[in-house]
């Protein structure tokens, strides 16, 4: 088993772990962290697969994708944290409110 393959497997593991945490946890901070773990998993897969050709120089394209992905992840996390803060101000809890109520 090559090192790159091991890294890719760890990436897949992080993705699954994050998915599990995203589903089971109710606190929004944990959900946001879970999404970030999932994102790191995907990035790890991309970086690991850049070595797939077996040459000494890794393929730079997946690295470029990871950099773009990190920028996206940072902006998404910022938006998610802002929304969490606003929700906390509004409801006093950092959790998703129940489905829409009947009356306003």
């Amino acid at each position: 088993m090559s090192t790159a393959f091991l890294y890719a497997l760890v990436g897949m593991g992080l993705f699954s772990l994050g998915l599990y945490a995203l589903i089971v946890h109710t606190h929004l901070l944990r959900k946001i962290l879970a999404l970030n773990v999932m994102g790191s998993g995907v990035f790890l897969v991309l970086v690991a697969l850049a070595k797939r050709t077996g040459e000494i120089q890794p393929d730079p394209v997946p690295h470029a994708m990871v950099i773009t992905g990190i920028v996206v992840a940072v902006s998404a996390t910022a938006l998610a944290l802002t929304l969490t803060l606003k929700l906390n101000e509004e409801t006093g809890r950092a959790e998703l409110p129940d489905e829409q109520r009947e009356s306003h």
Binding site: L35, V45, T68, L87, Q100
Partner: protein, 488 residues
Amino acid sequence: MGAMFTTIPWASALILLPLAGGMICFLWPRMVNALGLITVFATALSVIGLGWQIINDGVYHHPIGGWGAPLGIDLYADGLSLLMLSMTALVGICISIYSTAYFKREHTTRFWPLWLFLLGALNALFLSADIFNVYVTFELMGLAAVALVALAGGRDALGGAMRYLLAALLGSLAYLLGVALLYHGFGTVDIALLSQRVEPSPVLWATLGLMSAGLLLKTALFPLHFWLPPAHASAPAPVSALLSALVVKASFYILLRLWLEIFEPVVDDKSVASLLGLLGAAAVIWGSVQALRQTRLKLLIAYSTVAQIGYLFLAFPLAAAAGVTAWSAAVYLAVSHALAKAAMFLAAGNLIHFGGHDRIADLDRVVQRLPLTAGAFALAGVSIMGLPPSGGFIGKWLMLEAALTQERWDLVAVMILGGLLAGAYIFKVLGYAFTQADITHESKTVPASMEWAALLLAMGAILLGFLAVPVLSLVGIGDPFGVSEVRP
């Protein structure tokens, strides 16, 4: 003039104009309404310019900065992209006119930049030629859309926005993992190159699973629709219209593209298409029944979107033997739904502005008091139900034809039942709109531009019923459905 018209890179303008416009809106917050409208109209003109080029010269292809695939970013537009861009421009113009009157002063400065970013992301998505660029546009679109939902403020809107954000990010990550695997397996992210290189392999199956799951979540296909009703119902009316009309269509468009170009030719197994069709059928029934059960108008319209998305997926199992008819039907339904659903949400916004609530049972004689809005809702309803003459009718007729020729009576039954249920929930609203409610309430006047914007969109949905031949011949440019390809 003709020469100049054809040499301008319209596709780049389609992306740059809204992005630049959005940033300019931050600089001059006092003039956002005018700046926003100018940008939206200029973008629409660029769609016309691009359409001119495509009709004259065929498929449009533009390597940005001259780099070209596989390293550079390519823009690509065929008939299908052009139809989606035109739909975005048309719905965008009407919603923009509506928004100038709808939002209060302090909200306009937030709405316009976000909406223009969303417009730029949508245009970029419809012009994308590689799967990684699609991921970036998805995120740009998703973040703008989530922020737009949160504009309304308050518990419901913030909760809806948060739920939407989590679902959108999860969908994007699944999609991105699929991109990583496809790149690993076949060494490119360019859709055209991928379609030449792909062959059946475990990597392809894993990719199909990940990408479909991500895109279905974003398109809100049953049972992954849980985030859609709270987000679409709690957003401000023009935002609901944008989300239901355009944003869910974007992920459907990508799914359709990937399916046609990459997966369908190599996936021999019919079970994937059957599963998508089954989920579509379940969405039609479940969404319609849920819509019928709602007591709030905006939730009813949002569940109707869940049902109408289901129709689009009925094309997958039908495409095996009647490819062109089924795909044309799905695309036609997507466009007419965009017009009709935007009209419905705008009409609902008028009713909320008028009466201060959206309880269906308390719609107090709005037919007499807001005839244009009630007319817009009814005309849009005609298209949603699939009655002639309307765009929805043409789409459903083509889909029925595809199902009848293959003797898929189960899908025929679903389509007819879905139509009847749609009739039931639309007449439920119209029934209360005609009668006097128990509680009468103070009413506010609705600006004429808000009423006319809704009516124009609804009339567009009806008019689409007369344009089947030109629209379908336009979609055929560049052969997006693979007509010339000989199928076994």
